[in-house]
């Protein structure tokens, strides 16, 4: 039985900050690490913008709950959990993911953590270890498990490379072009087939 490591945003649920930006109509929140490469600086800017607009955690969580998982994600994940041991490895925060995890049947999730004050303002964040996606795959290898990993972006490539099989799902072309060694899939049907083929090869080897 293999461990399946899945990225969250873009693979099972929409991009959270983009959804929040669009639903709340705050264009300044649209910046990503492509605009501000320093993650700490980007997060500080996001928190300032939220504060200026009087937006607390509960309002963001309400927006995220409305977003819901991607179409077909729950059915795919249910199938995956019957056949593999599934871990979600994400750069989101538990407080953002919770409304989506409820809709996905509470899969096992390793991600970051937001600090809030008593009034529900987001005051800071605690990160896992650097490269926690790749490190988690290493840890499962250390326990003697084979790993099949799925992601859609640059921050997943360490995990995909460390896994026994790495698969792109719905990844932008600039990502797949830079990492041509990983199989690409565009929908859950193709991803399911990719899992079955990867398992068969791993069990034969």
């Amino acid at each position: 039985v293999e461990v399946a490591c899945l990225d969250l945003e873009g693979v099972l649920v929409p991009e959270v900050w983009i959804g929040v930006t669009e639903t709340m109509g705050i264009e300044a929140l649209r910046a990503t690490t492509r605009d501000i490469p320093d993650y700490g600086q980007l997060m500080r800017q996001r928190l300032e913008i939220l504060d200026q607009n009087g937006i607390g955690l509960s309002q963001i969580q309400a927006v995220i709950a409305e977003m819901g998982p991607l179409e077909g994600a729950r059915e795919f994940l249910d199938w995956l959990r019957e056949n593999y041991q599934v871990v979600i490895l994400s750069d989101t925060f538990y407080q953002f993911a919770t409304p989506l995890m409820r809709q996905l049947g509470w899969p096992f999730l390793l991600c970051h953590h937001l600090q809030t004050d008593g009034a529900g303002h987001i005051t800071g964040w605690d990160l896992c270890v650097p490269g926690h996606k790749r490190e988690a795959v290493r840890a499962f290898h250390g326990l003697n498990f084979k790993v099949i990993a799925v992601g859609d972006s640059f921050n997943d490539t360490g995990m995909l490379g460390e896994a026994d099989t790495g698969i792109f799902f719905s990844a932008p072309e600039n990502v797949t072009r830079d990492f041509p060694g990983f199989q690409t899939t565009q929908d859950y049907g193709a991803l399911k087939t990719a899992f079955q083929e990867a398992s068969r090869k791993l069990r034969e080897s």
Copy 2:
């Protein structure tokens, strides 16, 4: 958010080999590591007895499916998964656990694996790394997570000792006497309270 590491048999489901022994009425299967300390020798004896009685994997799985989880286990686990990231760490085999995992909502499980032939006979087994329960706790620590662990027997004490908080659930007196440092609980209500207290202390520290 803490990682909750739970033993399976005795904590969420009945002891599988005892259930199989009693349902099938094969007294020779009752031997445990208390009678035959060498696990490999014990497993070889069990497989021989199954073979002599013409019992394959599917018949054992049917018995296990009928056993079901312990009373209240599903409700407890559902609560736990909403509040913690839950991993089941067990010395059982995936093929035995599957009917019970279905009834428990497919939690994340790290355990051992049985080898079977095309006819459904159990021919051998593959173990995780030695001490995989303790090693898994170490791995979560390495990813910067706090761990609360629950077990009921000697093979859990390495995991309980490695965790930030170790809790016995329904453990025999000879076990709790030898390891007086761990809190003891007897039912899911007490276990829930123990989790809440452990979290509060870990978050304050």
